[in-house]
Symmetry: C2
Subunit: 309 residues, 2 copies
């Protein structure tokens, strides 16, 4: 698969090479942010790419670490941005998969204390997993005297713009009990915003809690395998038949590697070609897991295969 | 110095052994929480120990990672708890030493963005270091549209019960500039509260920021050497003439080791004798730095030396 390049991976492909690759796959997994859209703007051509793949009879899945929206909001966003044929069951968000994990794998017997937003709350509610609703601290209480809920048996950490000290401190107290599960929706350390700003990701909030508790969270999102296991169990897909397309080497590409999928970096998001080549040319064996098999400038290049043939 | 024990360190001493050790030292450095007091209760005998050491002509210093109070409040607390002869200049808190570092070592040219409380604010004000006063978010702004201050040239993270997402996110944005200094008052991951509760420490909040920025903070508090350098530069003390007394192996004892001081664990706080012996008997060489030279049940045992002689 390494083609004409000297080191394995980072093969920049286009036109008929992309067509050949896609012809060999039945399933295409896309990350969302930086791959099919950036914020509220679709990557040009992305809606046509998704439609085209589906018309060719392929399964298309969306695998996102973004836990801020419940899946029904994703369906609305897809529609708003011109994707007219995306169904809720094709969307695997870290919030949805966290709820599935708590219900079906951990089979949690008790409530979940959530650091997160409506995306996490709604998915837990839909999955029938009880949780402590604490959008923000309105009691004026402090960690010295606030009530703690003895029914809490798990702490789930996701992106939370209402994160505050009391939520962090309560989570620490719950996690003193070694039987209390410790989950994180995703490990993303930060996200880019407009104007060069950044916002801390779930991984940042999780790090605070890991340090304070000397425990490690079980991470549901990429690069953990669990989101692929969700897809595989619901759709029976074969890893050898899958292509994972993402914009972050340390999450998307590592996820693909961890799950045994062919991987493709698209350059419309966070990671750059030079970073991918840096991993490829590194002496450290563990860096190889970040190296994409293929690289495209944008997934819109998928459309060229039709025009050029 | 290892005495009759088989492995070096963890020598439990009392009576005349303590007297002999103290006779050989001119300077005694005490951690505060867990050593001379617990919360608002002095360790029984601690005020007499401090007075006795001073009457013997020794320098006594208080070296605390607790950044929540300015030093004048510490003087009041000492007095309230029965310590009648402690002066402000004998108190080296992580907040005070952070202000000294910013003013005298980093010579910061600009404002400091503070995650922390009044202890940090007051010490910066006393040191003449300009800072952004942001006790809490009252603007209703978000990281998407809040103002950022272009004069910020350093971020300082300490214990902050008003920590929230916006403070964290703003700090992330400031630290995108590689010229912006990144300091932490102390690395403490958590602190014990009453009733088995815990509260996240400065180290927990710093971890969130380190993860989000992929940078490492310069840590001022123990086990970093800087607080000893502050004492040494102001009082001209010789490490060989110092005994460091603390209750946490990973901060106090490591600090003493890092600074070349004799170290003593007192068992009135966080760390247990078994943990110290565990480090002593470990195969890993780096664990030896956590092993105290001496162990006492309480610093009140210092008084026995007089009674028994």
């Amino acid at each position: 698969m390494a083609g004409a390049v000297t080191s394995k991976g980072c093969q920049k492909i286009r036109g008929s090479q992309i067509k050949e690759l896609l012809d060999a796959k039945r399933n295409v997994l896309f990350d969302c942010d930086g791959v099919i859209w950036n914020g509220e703007t679709a990557v040009p051509g992305a809606p046509e790419v998704v439609s085209s793949l589906k018309q060719q009879g392929k399964n298309v899945f969306f695998v996102t670490n973004n836990c801020t929206r419940p899946r029904e909001n994703y369906v609305q966003k897809f529609s708003r941005l011109g994707f007219n044929d995306v169904a809720q069951e094709e969307i695997f968000s870290s919030a949805y998969c966290s709820a599935v994990y708590l219900r079906d794998v951990a089979k949690v017997q008790g409530k979940v204390f959530v650091i997160g937003g409506s995306g996490v709350y709604n998915e837990l509610r839909d999955a029938g997993v009880p949780f402590v609703e604490e959008e923000t601290d309105t009691s004026g209480g402090s960690i010295y005297d606030c009530p703690l809920d003895s029914e809490v048996k798990a702490v789930l950490v996701g992106y939370d713009e209402k994160f505050n000290f009391l939520k962090l401190a309560k989570a620490c107290c719950y996690l003193r009990n070694a039987d209390c599960l410790f989950l994180a929706t995703d490990p993303d350390p930060w996200h880019p915003l407009r104007g060069g700003r950044v916002t801390p990701g779930s991984g940042s909030l999780t790090a605070a809690l890991e340090t304070a508790t000397d425990r490690k969270a079980t991470v549901i999102g990429k690069p953990s395998r669990f989101m692929f296991e969700c897809i595989a169990s619901q759709f029976g897909v074969d890893p050898a038949q899958c292509l994972m397309v993402g914009d972050r080497l340390e999450t998307d590409i590592l996820f693909g590697t961890n799950c045994g999928l062919d991987t493709m970096l698209t350059l419309t998001g966070v990671s750059k070609m030079e970073e991918a080549e840096g991993y490829r040319d590194s002496e450290a064996p563990e860096k190889k897991d970040f190296v994409p098999d293929y690289v495209v400038d944008t997934i819109a290049d998928f459309l060229q295969t039709e025009e050029e043939d």
